[in-house]
């Protein structure tokens, strides 16, 4: 790393008794170097510009709707293109509820998988076992959506009808069961999609637990599970929490699969079976129908809110994961 070469220069400098080695003074004086520096730097500036442009363009696109509805947009419950009245609370709730149910299912499964791979699998076998999970992460969202619509929803419809018939008195099961698409279907497809992501990151985080601590526990006579439960998990809890938050971010921003199985209707949810929009699915399914500028602008406003929520989630996750891995971990799924 170039930072280290700087350190090398400094140690050479010390060894020479204060005489600066040539390299330290002549770092960027070559003409070609200067041009190269400017080019490389401009590409880095482009990345910053892109980020700024992203925010600016979303705000500009949503400006008409922001001016019209302001913050009322976030708490209102009407989405009426005919009356030109827009607000987004039910979709925000729909999105978050689906995300949380997905996490409720995904967290134990992912942690179980990650612990198994890290602590119960010999090193040579680890890639073999984590490979299917990585493959699952690589499947495009649209294919999850198709599989969900044609293979999963019919099964869920049967389960829902049964649940309603037998436990219909329970408010969560007292909804339109025969659609099949809805909160439950959306949550389950999200669960399948975020599990590999949370597993991959928690695996990396669990690998940062010092081996000596676990071996210490084992030497004291604990079982392997006791060592994991009492040493490894407490040690890495912040990072694991970060992994979960990151999974939530992915679940909240997921579009195609949820559009296909979430059941797209704009309403406050009352049960697990209600069809409901996510923010992303509302944008995806209504954008082509938006016939006047305030409608388009309101959809972009929904996008801006979605962007804000995912950015908050992702910043939190970055911070937590960075904290545990001391910046050593690259977040690429």
């Amino acid at each position: 790393m170039a930072r280290d070469s700087q350190a090398t220069f400094e140690s050479v400098e010390r060894a020479l008794g204060g005489v600066k080695p040539l390299g330290a003074r002549q770092q960027v004086i070559n003409f070609g170097d200067r041009i190269f520096y400017v080019i490389a730097k401009s590409f880095a500036v482009v990345v910053i510009l892109l980020t700024v442009l992203l925010v600016a363009d979303l705000v500009r696109g949503a400006w008409e709707s922001i001016g019209r509805f302001g913050l009322r947009f976030l708490v209102g419950t009407t989405w009426d293109p005919v009356a030109r009245e827009f607000s987004t609370l039910p979709t925000v709730i729909g999105t978050l509820v689906k995300g949380f149910i997905a996490l409720l299912l995904a967290v134990p499964v992912s942690f179980g998988s990650a612990i198994f791979i890290c602590f119960y699998t010999p090193r040579w076998l680890r890639p073999v076992i984590s490979y299917p999970i990585e493959l699952l992460a690589g499947i495009p969202s649209i294919i999850f959506g198709m599989w969900g619509l044609f293979a999963m929803v019919p099964v869920i419809r049967v389960v829902q009808v049964w649940l309603k018939a037998n436990f219909g008195w329970f408010f969560l099961f007292n909804g339109p069961a025969v659609y099949g698409v809805g909160v439950l279907s959306g949550s389950i497809i999200l669960f399948i999609m975020v599990t590999p992501i949370i597993t991959a990151i928690s695996k990396e985080i669990l690998l940062t637990v010092p081996r000596a601590q676990i071996e210490g526990m084992l030497a004291l006579g604990s079982t392997k599970w006791e060592a994991i439960w009492k040493v490894a998990l407490p040690y890495s809890r912040i990072g694991l929490f970060g992994a979960v938050i990151l999974g939530l971010g992915r679940a909240v921003g997921e579009t195609m699969a949820v559009t296909m199985v979430g059941g797209n209707s704009f309403a406050l949810i009352h049960s697990l079976f209600d069809p409901v929009h996510s923010m992303a699915s509302q944008i995806a399914s209504e954008f082509s129908e938006a016939t006047y500028s305030l409608y388009v602008s309101s959809l972009i406003y929904v996008g801006l809110v979605l962007f804000g929520i995912t950015i908050l989630i992702s910043l939190l996750a970055q911070f937590l994961i960075w904290k545990i891995s001391k910046g050593k971990l690259a977040l690429l799924d």
């Binding site: 930072r3 070559n30 490389a40 500009r60 998988s113 499947i139 079982t223 690259a330």
Partner: protein, 280 residues
């Protein structure tokens, strides 16, 4: 003491089986999805499907040639935009360390990987589609490029980090300017990991449908003009899968099979690539 010990042993076994169960959940869904796509899609694939144009709804036959070419076109142009930005910025971060700036760029890249693809689509819509007055393949490329840049940047940065300093110093000590050192020593040494990152970004973009909804938009005709709407495979799958015709569903499965084959093939390939590297 003995009973207590047996209880602890039991917990150990129970958790072991529980965790094995967790792994099998993922494996179950993987096999379920791959199997379902294989069964429903593979039989429909023939030469005609890959090379013919779509036919009007209701007629059987026809293919997805325009979507295959469209996907290729949009992703290729996106790659041309994203590769220099991603790799150039990574070179800057790693080879010209600056206190705040480099860290900021790297941090932003990590944040950008978390931006939902539908929001990226809205961005491309506001940036390109509105000013240019219509949907176009180019706006789709901009959206894909935006998805690809942070992935390429982060993987390239990690790749450059792994290049040993001794190589840079050896080159500099021979009096070779820094830029020649980077182009002639650092990049070739890390080329394999750079290619892997680029392929990863491309395969990720290939499967994205959401940003195409209001950028490339889709097209039932042949088009290689960047300023006109163009069909892409993920978008075609969405249209066909949510449509009312049984024949469309068939075609959606077949197109999913093709897409899955391409995406998983690149993933397996890059993995093999990386492994042969780590064996060296």
């Amino acid at each position: 003491m003995d009973r207590h010990f047996r209880f602890r042993k039991f917990i150990e076994w129970a958790t072991w089986f529980g965790m094995l169960g967790c792994i099998s959940v993922s494996v179950f869904f993987l096999v379920g999805i791959l199997g379902y796509v294989l069964v429903h899609g593979a039989g429909y694939i023939d030469w005609e499907f890959l090379t013919a144009m779509p036919v009007p709804a209701g007629e059987t036959g026809g293919g997805i040639a325009n979507a295959l070419v469209g996907s290729f076109l949009v992703v290729a142009v996106a790659g041309l935009m994203a590769l220099p930005i991603g790799i150039g910025a990574a070179i800057f971060i790693n080879e010209f360390p600056s206190h705040g700036f480099g860290h900021t760029v790297r941090f932003l890249a990590e944040v950008l990987t978390g931006v939902p693809s539908i929001v990226v689509g809205l961005f491309a819509y506001a940036l390109v589609v509105i000013p240019s007055g219509g949907f176009s393949a180019l706006s789709g490329s901009v959206a894909y490029a935006f998805i690809m840049v942070p992935i390429i940047l982060i993987s390239a940065h990690e790749a450059l980090r792994l290049v040993p300093d001794s190589l840079r110093e050896a080159s500099l000590a021979l009096g070779i300017p820094k830029w020649r050192t980077i182009m002639g020593v650092v990049l070739p040494v890390s080329s394999r990991a750079l290619v892997t990152g680029a392929v990863l970004a491309i395969s990720r973009a290939l499967g994205e449908a959401a940003p195409m909804l209001f950028t490339a938009f889709g097209n039932s005709f042949w088009n290689v003009n960047l300023t006109k709407p163009v069909a892409t495979v993920p978008l075609l799958i969405y249209t066909y899968a949510t449509g009312p015709y049984e024949d469309w569903h068939q075609k959606a499965w077949a197109a999913s099979f093709v897409l899955l084959l391409v995406v998983l093939f690149t993933s397996v390939l890059t993995r093999a690539f990386l492994r042969s590297k780590s064996n060296e």
